[in-house]
């Protein structure tokens, strides 16, 4: 039932409302004539309705959620309550810097921590999410070439396995995208790269470990080839969890990186966001970083603006980015400390390799069987799809009945019928064993009677949904005329 269907004219949560007054001074021609479609319900109805809706979700707090490339690790509760402390949650963005010295100290420390973790020279916390971090990164590369008068660089190289945001971002920055293939061992095809680079190359966008779940072994060579051609290297930090404290993008030769704090630094995904996508840069891109960034002057902190940074690519949101998310990430970083960060990569990698080996033993085919898993790995169900007509989609939906969120399906696109599985470091062995066992059972079900999979899920609030109808007969809002009992 929708909240609107519980609405009764005249009912209200009056305890939440200020006294009724007539607004003065608004010309009649500019006044609203009919009330918007908001429900008239009691406070308890609201609490009950949304509590019940919450119970229709899988979440990290309730289920193993091994979505590849998304790093669904435990989100410590303390990070949330600290970000909501009144002095932090209640501060207006245009309040003077003097009223936010505690906040600014945290933001400054977070910049310093992220610099060290990534091996970059400077960090800006401004971007609101990974894709905005990517945008900032590519905009900086463009600003750098423009500042050098190097305006013939019109192409960005992107591996075919890249996240969809990479090519979309390159286009937003006015670049043409040139795709290069991935080899059957998961590494980039170096010969194809050599053939692709030239005076038209602005840069390359890479993820390492790559989106196929393996470490790009020839990264130094790739960096040399791109740099020799005058291009810059962009690092998509989606997979930073795999290498935290072990190896740093700055040392690999990257010029600019974005981090997804909602992945590696455990801020919540919130059913779709908010995230935070700070960027780190090498020396030559320092002047172009997005603002605001925090500077320390003596024992005082302040936001730097356009005035301080004349070559900046500028502001990407009205105020200072997703401060509340950055605070959660900062608290997490302080809880982990440097030793804790190294352990993140260690146990994320241990969990992924364990799952890969055990699933192989259970009869599943790996996309890159000769490679080590990083923090994630790819399994392909192409044999099951061919022999039993049991697709990755069917396995995914059946897993839900066993109480596990499905891994990422059908990404990367170049591996047929694939699962990209990322357990993260916060899952216990028993949970991994449960998942492996469920996969083995589903495989047996597929061999016995594939219809058992085709009809899944059976135990959730909805059976499989009609996506085609959703797109053809668009129903994007409830209409009052549908009312009602």
């Amino acid at each position: 039932m929708l909240i609107f269907e519980q609405s009764r004219s005249g009912r209200k949560a009056v305890g939440q409302m200020p006294a009724k007054v007539e607004a003065t001074g608004i010309p009649a021609a500019l006044q609203r004539k009919s009330a918007p479609t908001l429900p008239a319900v009691s406070e308890m109805q609201v609490v009950r309705h949304y509590t019940r809706l919450s119970q229709k979700n899988f979440s990290i707090d309730t289920q193993f959620y091994p979505l590849g490339s998304c790093t669904m690790k435990y989100n410590p509760r303390i990070c949330n309550s600290m970000a909501l402390l009144p002095g932090l949650a209640g501060r207006h963005p245009y309040a003077p810097d003097s009223s936010g010295q505690g906040l600014l100290a945290c933001m400054y420390d977070l910049q310093e921590i992220l610099k060290e973790v990534t091996g970059m020279c400077g960090v800006s916390l401004a971007p609101a999410a990974g894709a905005q971090g990517e945008f900032a990164g590519m905009a900086m590369i463009r600003a750098y070439h423009d500042a050098n008068g190097d305006d013939g660089r019109t192409e960005v190289i992107v591996p075919d396995a890249a996240h969809g945001t990479n090519p979309a971002t390159a286009v937003m920055c006015g670049y043409k995208v040139k795709e290069i293939p991935t080899r059957s061992d998961g590494d980039i095809d170096i010969d194809a790269l050599k053939a692709a680079v030239g005076p038209q190359t602005a840069g390359i966008m890479l993820t390492n470990p790559s989106t196929v779940g393996v470490f790009e072994r020839r990264i130094k060579e790739i960096a040399r080839i791109v740099h020799d051609a005058g291009g810059l290297l962009y690092y998509d930090g989606a997979n930073l969890n795999a290498i935290l404290g072990k190896v740093r993008p700055g040392d690999m030769g990257f010029d600019v990186i974005h981090m997804n704090l909602h992945k590696t630094f455990s801020t919540p995904h919130g059913g779709g966001g908010p995230g935070a996508g700070p960027v780190g840069v090498s020396e030559r891109l320092m002047p172009f970083m997005p603002i605001p960034t925090v500077a320390k002057e003596g024992d005082k902190f302040r936001w730097l603006t356009e005035k301080d940074c004349p070559q900046t690519i500028g502001r990407l949101s009205a105020f200072s980015g997703n401060i509340g998310v950055l605070l959660r990430a900062y608290v997490y970083a302080r809880l982990l400390g440097r030793e804790g960060m190294e352990r993140v990569a260690e146990y994320a990698t241990l969990n992924a390799n364990y799952m890969m080996v055990m699933l192989k033993k259970a009869g599943f085919e790996m996309a890159y069987p000769e490679r080590r898993a990083t923090h994630e790995f790819i399994l392909t169900l192409k044999k099951e799809a061919k022999e039993q007509n049991a697709t990755a989609m069917d396995f995914a939906k059946r897993l839900l009945d066993y109480g596990f969120h499905a891994p990422t399906t059908y990404f990367p696109l170049l591996v047929p019928e694939c699962f990209l599985i990322e357990p993260t470091e916060t899952e216990a062995k028993s949970e991994l064993d449960g998942f492996i066992d469920a996969m083995a059972r589903i495989k047996a079900e597929a061999e016995e009677n594939v219809d058992q999979l085709k009809g899944a899920p059976y135990t959730l609030p909805s059976r499989r949904l009609d996506d085609v109808r959703a797109a053809r007969e668009l129903d994007l809002t409830w209409k009052p005329e549908e009312t009602n009992v």
């Binding site: 939440q16 009144p86 002095g87 309040a95 996240h163 072990k246 502001r315 809880l335 216990a428 129903d475």
Partner: protein, 458 residues
């Protein structure tokens, strides 16, 4: 080890299953010369929860202790306790983007309800599931207008200078490399409204879109009907930038002029989202049905499941980056989902009447504050146009110094206009929402009186 559940026994068994001797062996594909030997002490040693709570408590204690009269695009409204209690339930807080619809019906239904509420507030047909914030939403709206208006080749956008200055900057920064031209429209120095008559010089020219703020950055109400009709008559897409709280009282963009605007966007923060020094907030975007395939961001649709039961799913995904890649409507992936959850709960609790009450109280408190402050010598209203809950006041003393002195007295007195509007050098923008009492308004007035007298003496 914080948050890592492995026992020694687990670790031993797992390593044996993999067939390696140590976790270190699992990193053997990384070239040795790239490996670092641990992080430096630039990353502090770990703290336990008690230690972190103490550290953060100390940081927060000194911050934002004053009485806030700043608006300028972010508004302090009361947020009912239930909003964030429910929003931060783990099932909402720690869920991912609802790719597996059957396991995400909670989040999906919340967003469907949100889309209904937001579309209705704007009197437009459809809403997306959110963008980052108001400023980046305007940038996306401008890009959407360029896509939606296939006949217009100019990519010329008319942007009133009464649009929030940070929004104008963000739009420029985001569309910079896409060949657009953004031309600013002047405002009337007396009323604070965009000069509709100035549009005459663009008549007959190829204009892709006209941006229309309501209320504008000065808090002044624009002639939105005339502006919307001008866009329609000149074959330009109209883009409203609105405060959704204000729409509880003001004509919604879908009803402006003869036919309503094409696209409306803005900042959703006033609907249940804490100020939090500027984020996370969320941008909203609504449009007419005919433009729905050009909307950026996620959209949720209602459909049916295998048993014919209603349910919800992401839809029109063919617009998005994970399908269309370089041809997507936007690169956006992660949005501001949790903020939308909070707003949906906020709007449900308040209802149409509650929103109207909050908005009315804010309008009247701002008017009352304006009257109290303008009763002082050396303070006057900068603009004559009818206003909402921001007001620009002209001081006879340098604004920056006055604001600083007010801060010393525990009052955040407003936003200094000088940097963005040199012609308003001695002006500040003030706001008093429903959270302010008569006593608060008086406290501001007497503090300002003292400060002005002090400046006088000095």
């Amino acid at each position: 080890m914080p948050f890592i559940p492995h026992t020694e026994q687990d670790e031993k068994e797992m390593l044996a299953a993999i067939g390696v001797n140590s976790i270190e062996d699992l990193f053997d594909e990384i070239p040795a010369e790239l490996r670092i030997d641990g992080l430096s002490d630039a990353v502090p040693a770990g703290l336990n929860e008690m230690g972190v709570a103490r550290l953060m408590g100390e940081c927060a204690a000194g911050d934002a202790t004053g009485l806030n009269f700043i608006g300028a695009g972010a508004y302090e409204h009361h947020i009912p306790q239930a909003v964030w209690d429910i929003t931060t339930r783990g099932e909402f807080y720690s869920a991912y983007t609802p790719y597996q619809a059957e396991a995400s019906q909670g989040t999906l239904q919340v967003v469907y309800e949100y889309q209904t509420m937001m579309a209705s507030l704007n009197a437009l047909d459809v809403s997306n599931a959110s963008l980052y914030d108001g400023a980046s939403a305007l940038a996306e709206a401008v890009l959407m207008a360029v896509r939606a208006h296939r006949k217009s080749k100019s990519k010329r956008i008319l942007m009133p200078s009464t649009v929030h200055p940070a929004y104008r900057t963000v739009v420029k920064n985001i569309v910079r490399n896409q060949g657009l031209t953004i031309e600013e429209l002047p405002y009337c120095a007396e009323s604070g409204k965009t000069l509709v008559a100035e549009l005459a010089k663009y008549e007959g020219e190829d204009i892709t879109a006209l941006v229309i703020p309501q209320p504008n950055f000065f808090g002044v109400l624009e002639d939105v009907n005339a502006l919307t009709d001008w866009a329609a008559n000149n074959n330009a897409i109209s883009i409203a930038v609105v405060n959704p709280m204000a729409l509880a009282l003001l004509t919604p963009p879908g009803e402006w002029g003869e036919a309503g605007v094409d696209i409306a966007c803005g900042e959703g923060q006033s609907l249940g989202v804490p100020l939090s020094s500027g984020g996370p907030y969320y941008g909203f975007m609504c449009c007419k049905q005919k433009h729905v395939r050009q909307l950026p961001g996620r959209i949720i649709g209602r459909t049916v499941d295998l048993d014919g039961k209603p349910g919800f799913a992401l839809t029109l995904q063919a617009r998005e980056q994970h399908i269309r890649r370089s041809k997507a409507t936007s690169n956006i992936c992660t949005n501001q989902g949790l903020m939308v959850t909070a707003s949906t709960i906020y709007m449900s609790l308040m209802g149409a009447e509650g929103l109207a009450r909050v908005a009315s109280q804010s309008v009247n408190n701002t008017q009352a504050l304006t009257e109290k402050l303008c009763a002082l010598d050396g303070v006057e209203q900068a603009f004559s146009g009818a206003g909402f809950h921001d007001r620009v006041l002209r001081l006879t003393k340098p604004a920056a110094g006055v604001l600083e002195a007010l801060t010393d007295q525990g009052i955040y007195g407003g936003y200094a206009m000088a940097e963005q509007y040199p012609e308003l050098a001695d002006c500040i923008s003030v706001c008093a929402t429903e959270t302010k009492t008569e006593a608060d308004l008086n406290a501001y007035a007497s503090a300002l009186a003292a400060v002005l007298a002090d400046v006088e003496a000095a």
